[in-house]
């Protein structure tokens, strides 16, 4: 299990950032995809906006973009139909064979 997965299991959302060129490397990796330098691990922003959303059974699933300008798919708890550009917050995360990201409306 790598740093990203370990931290997810502690409820921490960390992402990789190049220590030389400062680029956020996403999906996470140990080496920068821009300059091939090593990365450092930083806490990712929990603030995000909805790019697009759909629903399976009772769960909304959304493509979101965080303030770090990375995009991911996660579950949104919401009684109302989400809107594109709506502000949301990462409310929880864990890793069980794959990452789970849970968001809530602000």
């Amino acid at each position: 299990m790598n740093k990203f997965e370990n931290e997810l299991n502690k409820g921490n959302f960390v992402i990789s950032k190049c220590q030389k060129c400062n680029k956020i490397v996403w999906p996470v990796n140990d080496i920068c995809d821009n300059c091939f330098s090593n990365v450092i691990w930083i806490t990712g922003s929990k603030s995000a906006r909805i790019i697009e959303c759909s629903k399976q059974k009772n769960d909304w699933f959304c493509l979101v973009e965080t303030e770090d300008q990375i995009r991911m798919l996660g579950t949104l708890k919401s009684d109302n139909e989400p809107r594109t550009e709506q502000r949301i917050l990462l409310d929880g995360c864990y890793f069980d064979k794959k990452p789970y990201f849970m968001f809530k409306a602000v």
Binding site: P27, C53, S54, K55, F61, L63, R71, M72, T75, K98
Partner: protein, 369 residues
């Protein structure tokens, strides 16, 4: 560069059969040999296997099982577009002079590991392709006011076309209401909007111009190739209503062929989900942005089989590693005037579009009789 032709082919029926990939590869190869009387094992100097199966050394294994001792033999895996990638590799081997006669065989099972891209952690728990397809559909609906009925017409058309394809997984026509009322998978996707991963194999023989004459009087020439990879991860798609890799691959392919979309008489395009066909028609250049659904409705209403005459992936099924090869076989048959009930009248040039993982990569091949 040497000219490159498709000269022979073979296929299995697409099914739910629980058989090994090695057996599918061999039965597909047998089908090609059965249909190509002048072909002997000694003619083949390269064997390429297109599959997402994890099995080891499948190129040499198929070669041994088929009694072939090729110079070059290996497996090619590129998710859903493994087939087109293999054909591009075969083209490159022949065009460069490294090979003369290449056997390309694609096969996968209904439970192929290629159905999911496990690497893409940015997809979170939503790794199944139905989720990106749902988001593409929702986004396109929002931007272009696409209706449920317009979406259903894609599936109705392709299931109807598949009736005349003896190797298709589905030989059942569905009405538009049946499709609109099929099982709801997500809020934006129904069961009959989805292609079905299945078991199947397709094989094609490609040769130099000089050798083509031994196997056929009607070789079909590869005139244009375009490939583009924009990323591996779905979340790198900037615009969910546009397939960027398809646009770029199409432009490159048309430039190489010195053709335009108006020159294409028949096309097999990668309708993994209904929304894909609509977007691809626009991004390949067959119609303007936002007019893909209207284009499909006209094809359906006029029973014009120009797009996906074999039934596409939705009608024919989607044995991942075989799909791009099956698409190319269909276009080859069309350009040989040998497509039976599926035949497009007077088809002289055709196009194959095969893509992977939410169009993070695409391949476009243009063929001419």
């Amino acid at each position: 560069m040497n000219e490159v032709a498709a000269v022979a082919y073979g296929s299995t029926k697409f099914s739910d059969d629980d058989i090994s990939v090695e057996d599918i590869l061999l039965s597909t190869t047998k089908s090609l040999f059965d249909q190509t009387p002048n072909l002997s094992q000694n003619d083949i100097d390269t064997v390429l296997v297109s599959t997402n199966e994890n099995g080891q050394y499948l190129g040499p294994i198929l070669s041994e099982l088929s009694g072939i001792k090729p110079n070059i033999s290996h497996k090619i895996e590129n998710l859903c577009s493994s087939g087109a990638s293999s054909i591009v590799s075969a083209y490159s081997y022949i065009a460069s002079g490294l090979s003369d006669t290449v056997l390309v065989v694609g096969a996968d099972r209904y439970d192929s590991p290629g159905r999911l891209l496990e690497w893409d952690d940015a997809r979170g728990e939503y790794k199944n392709p139905i989720f990106w397809a749902s988001l593409f559909t929702k986004s396109y609906k929002r931007k272009f006011n696409l209706s449920e009925e317009e979406l259903a017409i894609v599936s109705a058309k392709n299931h109807k076309n598949a009736i005349d394809n003896p190797n298709a997984y589905s030989n059942k026509a569905y009405t538009i209401p049946e499709i609109m009322n099929s099982k709801q998978i997500t809020a934006d996707l129904r069961l009959l909007d989805c292609s079905k991963p299945c078991t199947g194999g397709s094989a094609i023989l490609m040769t130099s111009k000089k050798s083509s004459k031994k196997f056929t009087d009607t070789p079909v020439w590869i005139k244009g190739i375009g490939q583009k990879t924009t990323s591996a991860g779905f979340t790198k798609n900037n615009d969910l209503t546009e397939l960027e890799s398809t646009k770029i691959a199409s432009i490159d392919s048309f430039n190489m062929a010195k053709m335009s979309p108006n020159d294409i008489d028949v096309a097999e395009i990668h309708d993994a989900f209904s929304i894909c066909e609509i977007m691809e028609l626009e991004d390949i250049g067959f119609t303007k942005k936002g007019q893909g659904a209207e284009y499909v409705r006209t094809l359906f209403n006029t029973e014009d089989k120009k797009i996906n005459p074999r039934g596409g992936l939705i009608g024919s099924g989607h044995p991942l590693g075989a799909t791009g090869i099956a698409q190319t076989i269909e276009i080859t048959q069309q350009l040989q005037n040998n497509a039976g009930k599926k035949q497009i009248s007077n088809a002289k040039s055709g196009l194959v579009h095969n893509m992977s993982a939410a169009a993070t990569s695409s391949a476009v091949i243009i063929l001419e009789s």
